[in-house]
Amino acid sequence: MGRFLLRRAINYLILTFLASSGVYFLASLTLEPQMNLLAKHPHPPIATVYQILNSQGVDPQVSVFVRYWHWLTQLVLHGNFGIAADGGSVNTEMSQRIFVSTELLLLATFLGAATGVVYGAWNALRQYRFSDRASTIFSYAVIATPVVVIGVTIRTVDNWLGSPIQYTGMYDPGANGFFAIAVSNLEHLILPTLTLWIVQMTLFSRYQRSTMLDVLGSDFLRTARAKGLPRRKAVIKHGLRTAVIPVMPLLVYNIVLLFTGATFTEKLFGWHGMGEWLVDTINTNDINAVAAIGVFTSGLVLIAGLLSDLIYAALDPRVRT
């Protein structure tokens, strides 16, 4: 098991390295950081523009391989992602945004995973009853709806009701003192969490429903019933536990990758997290920040892959040996 995981880890590391290098090259070749400076009125002299770009390590006149080598050595030796287009440090910006994303996602994903598993299993137990059919149609509708539409609908409903819940930004800028800010922060968390929760729960419940249906028809569950376990106990102890195992990798992947995937929710509700950064950096031609996101995202895939391997091993005794 240990050797297997080690081999996987090395393979993932190589893939991550290639993917992030690819993102760096692509960003360097497609983005045009000089446009930021040339778009100013009046724009600084050309020589100054290139001097600024050079100091940021994104001068298009320097060979892309030289820039890449500089970027790579800085990153590997000093853990330094370089300078963003606005002159600030990419590292500082990124750590702030990771914090924001974590706050936003923590509640939504765990709520979504837990309720999704329970809801899916419940639907499986009631297969073909009215509630199951209704929730099947509902979940098709949710899956067919872009997150933007879900988010805006929730926002609109809130407005129609006379905006009982505030939603723009992380907290009300007028709030003073730690306690007021914390309360305001929680209030601002409600609507984005609701948006993420609906999507996540629906997705997970579909998965859980189909694995649960597989398990419900299985021999070991019938045996458990035959030896006298009440249906409720048999389903929960033997059925649900087995049915959750195949869903776990999906849960892990989804939760981890949501760090950069909650783009729409963050954008709609004004949370300055990683997902929003992903779009903003491309729009502002910020090569170093885009490269940092590339490293971060492919690093997340690596972590998600290893984590789901580990969880799988922990849950499924057949893999453990």
């Binding site: 993932y12 893939l15 991550t16 290639l18 993917a19 690819g22 993102v23 692509l26 497609t30 297969q127 149609i137 098709y140 509708a141 899956i143 067919a144 709806t145 872009p146 997150v147 933007v148 539409v149 805006v152 926002r155 609109t156 407005n159 948006t195 999507v199 996540q200 997705l203 579909r206 429903r209 189909s210 694995t211 249906l213 597989d214 028809g217 195949p246 990798p249 992947y253 989804n254 990758l257 949501l258 950069t260 995937g261 909650a262 783009t263 729409f264 929710t265 997902g275 992903l278 779009v279 491309i282 729009n283 885009v290 996101i293 590339g294 995202t297 492919s298 997340l300 895939v301 690596l302």
Partner: protein, 335 residues
């Protein structure tokens, strides 16, 4: 991710009776799923509406009515106008055309890529398999949204077709894996070996013997991919990375209407409703196709009534893997 245990045919011993043709059987099974029929009906209405209705409308999607700018739905503009005085109905129909074309080309194309790569990897094995699977894993690790967002505006100047191909290139991986593992089970079957020893070229074997034997999986997957591609397109267009002006799609319309959603609901919710309706129809059709091809699958609606049909078709299809569990894990397009 999930190991699908082949579902044994549940029916009793084969009853001797006049056999129907396969396509007639599939059609009968498909039409038993009422939601799927509703899906087909609405989709037909949408397609006909998108292409035929504009010719009968007074306002074209390019027209500006400067006397009615940002007005609510009334007798003149049935679904209202946007701030530039353009008719929302005409614009939505135009956007629907583009979204339909993108979905209906992109979905099957994605499945096609998955079929080619997956079948080649599974059939040839050895270093071909290793290289292709490694490439597949690399594509899974690469942040697809980031890539598309940077590439699409550069490559897709003027033509949306390249954009569709890009979407397909970044969407085939999960299906590709399923196709590969199915190819593994097929490649040692007698009919494939027979063709091989008769000297049929490998690619011909793949196209003539391997892929047709997983047609059900591929067809259902294509239906699912249509929905995913449309969603991905609208997501990218929302941020301005997808379809570029002067082209419009439902995604660009949704993006344009979003700031006014609370005050002028028609600008946002008309194209949004259209998109959701279209996605829902595609999902229902995919569901119906799965029922038709794989009546033993969990969740197949006609299961109880169809036990005598169950053994007529090879029931070892992991179609369920793809449709019952909607694959939408690509990062960036999730939330």
């Amino acid at each position: 991710m999930t190991t699908q245990v082949p579902l044994a045919p549940t029916g009793p011993a084969p009853v001797v009776r006049k056999s129907r043709g396969r396509s007639a059987l599939l059609l009968a099974r498909f039409s038993r799923n009422r939601l799927a029929l509703v899906g087909v009906a609405i989709l037909v209405v949408l397609v006909v509406g998108a292409y035929v209705m504009p010719t009968f409308l007074h306002w074209k999607y390019t027209d500006n009515d400067f006397e009615n700018m940002g007005t609510a739905p009334d007798g003149n503009h049935w679904l209202g106008t946007n701030h530039a005085g353009q008719d929302i109905l005409a614009q939505t129909l135009r956007g629907l055309q583009k979204s339909l074309v993108i979905g209906l080309i992109g979905g099957p194309l994605t499945t096609f890529f998955a079929a080619i790569v997956g079948a080649s990897a599974g059939y040839f094995g050895g270093w071909v398999d290793r290289v292709l699977m490694w490439f597949l894993e690399l594509l899974l690790v690469v942040p697809g949204f980031l890539l598309l967002a940077m590439l699409a505006p550069k490559l897709a100047h003027g033509t949306w077709l390249i954009f569709v191909v890009l979407l397909a290139i970044l969407g085939w991986m999960v299906t590709g894996r399923v196709v590969r593992s199915m190819t593994h089970t097929l490649k040692d079957r007698e009919f494939v070996l027979a063709a091989k020893y008769m000297g049929v070229r490998p690619m011909t074997i793949i196209f003539r013997h391997i892929l047709p034997n997983m047609a059900s999986l591929l067809i259902v997957d294509a239906a699912v991919q249509v929905g995913l591609i449309v969603l991905a397109e609208s997501a990218l267009s929302y941020f301005g990375f997808g379809i570029q002006a002067p082209d419009i799609s439902l995604g660009t319309l949704i993006a344009a209407g979003e700031p006014d959603a609370t005050t002028s609901a028609w600008m946002f919710f008309v194209p949004a409703a259209c998109l959701v309706l279209m996605g829902l129809c595609v999902a229902f059709i995919g569901d119906g196709l799965r029922d038709a091809f794989d009546p033993t699958a969990v969740g197949a609606k006609s299961k109880a009534r169809l036990q005598d049909d169950a053994d007529e078709i090879d029931s070892e299809s992991p179609v369920l893997d793809l449709t019952g569990q909607n694959v939408r894990t690509e990062e960036g397009l999730t939330s």
